[in-house]
């Protein structure tokens, strides 16, 4: 059974519709990639799943339960986490940012996991008491990743986790994600970096707010549509 399942989801901003009937599934333990050109609607889709944007029509189920009318915090309580493209809390320290990622956990547990994450991101550890607002673009990204990982969610939604990261850190992030996958977390990632393809079980190609194509990694890699839209070949 799928952990996350979307049927005919439509959504947008104000009067402007962006998503036009998206069907999508993520099974437990699975890693799914969202591909698609600039402004195809990937971010919009993730924001709708977590509840930052209202779902106009269609349904979203998590673990069998309808969640599309729940407030974001209710969805997150059920085990979903979302990493946004740019967001951190600039006036809070790095420590506090990560602590908030584990908002629903016990403090001791948060502290334990935080120390583990600091081993992965020594840059963050060195600046742990500084305000997140002073970080460089890539450092913020790392913080964003650490912040969602700390909650060890059942389903992790990530919006472009690697953009702006130096190659050395992209490799590290992939390693970390592999570990999470190993411990049973499902992933839905909007990502453009080819390196992430290796991580995925399946993928969806989004185009103008619709699913243009879906399939396993190998199917996608050999699809002409993907080769054209994605690699420009």
């Amino acid at each position: 059974m799928s952990l996350l399942s979307l049927q005919g989801v439509e959504s947008g901003y104000g009067p402007m519709q962006i998503l036009w009937g998206i069907d999508l599934d993520v099974a437990a333990g699975e890693t799914v990639l969202l591909l698609g050109a600039n402004s195809a609607g990937k971010t919009t889709l993730l924001r709708t799943i977590i509840g930052l944007l209202p779902c106009w029509r269609g349904g979203i189920r998590f673990d069998g339960e309808r969640i599309d009318t729940l407030a974001p915090d209710q969805r997150i309580r059920r085990g979903i986490a979302f990493m946004s493209e740019l967001g951190v809390f600039p006036t809070l320290s790095i420590d506090e940012n990560i602590a908030l990622g584990g908002y629903f956990l016990r403090d001791a547990e948060v502290r334990r996991r935080r120390e583990r994450l600091f081993e992965l991101f020594p840059d963050l550890a060195a600046k742990r008491r500084d305000a997140a607002g002073s970080l460089s673009g890539g450092q913020r990204k790392m913080l964003g990743i650490a912040k969602v990982l700390v909650s060890e969610p059942r389903l992790l939604l990530m919006d472009e986790p690697s953009s702006g990261l130096a190659p050395v850190f992209v490799k590290q992030v992939i390693e970390v994600l592999k570990t999470s996958i190993g411990s049973g977390t499902s992933l839905l990632i909007a990502e453009q970096n080819v390196a992430f393809l290796a991580l995925a079980d399946r993928g969806y190609l989004i185009d103008h707010g619709k699913v243009r194509l879906s399939g396993t990694r190998t199917e996608l890699e050999s699809s002409d549509a993907v080769r054209e839209a994605y690699f420009g070949l």
Binding site: L52, P72, D73, G87, F89, T91, L92, L100, G133
Partner: protein
Amino acid sequence: MELLEYAIIGGILYGIFFSLVGIGLNLIFGVMRIINLAHGQFIVLGGYAAFLVSQHFGLNPLWGIALSVVGAIVVGWPLYAAVVPRLQRSGDPEMLSFILFFGIGQMLEALTVLGFGADQRSLPGDALGSGNLGLLGQEFPDSWWVAAAVSLAAIAGLYVYFSHTKLGYATRAIMANRDEALATGIDVRRVSAIAFVAGLALAGIAGVFVPYLLGSVSPDLGDGLTTTSFAIVIIGSLGNPLGTVIGGLVFGLGTMLMQTYYSSWSNVVPYALLLVIVLIRPSGLLGKAVRLA
């Protein structure tokens, strides 16, 4: 020399009290970006709460604190629900709140006049202790010490809340980035409502001591208190409770020293200090510069 010591100790006590006066404003602005122009009127209501418990129920005016807290919940929660979500859905909540709370302030002032009359009300002078407590040989009315102690306790409470509780982190997270707070799973509405009510409750608690520190309470004190609160909060930096304490101390000491030596200029001091401080440190004494690019 004796006058100097007296002014310094008095300034500290007075300043600590004024930290409490300002802190509710800071909380509400920080969390909701709402300019509570009715802050002073809420403080005045606290003063009347103390008046009510002491004149009508014969209790110690300190029970006004409890009444203020209850009042803040009873009034603040529905007010929050009626007003804040609507504001936040609008284009520019910060500015809209300015007009809205101006209106609320007008109403509160009118209601206090209708309810309690326009005249000054004061409280039994000895209800908070009739003596004079001394420090370094300088004596101040007991009520000043009680006010300072309660203020310190309230501010310490707020500090602990901010820096050591989940809810406090969440509150600051909302201050920092509302969207990201939503995305992190914080129940923004609940946390904001709590902050709103807490802000009003703190204003009310400060109000309980107004009849002692300012001689009496009357409906028209509101605007002046709002202005002073703004100055104090800005001196110390928005969103920072410790800053507000420093702001209060700057205000209290400045006023008292000036009153001792150049009494006719004493009201200029807090504002002159504010100007100097923000020109040197554009986001207040404890403010941090933000990265632009």
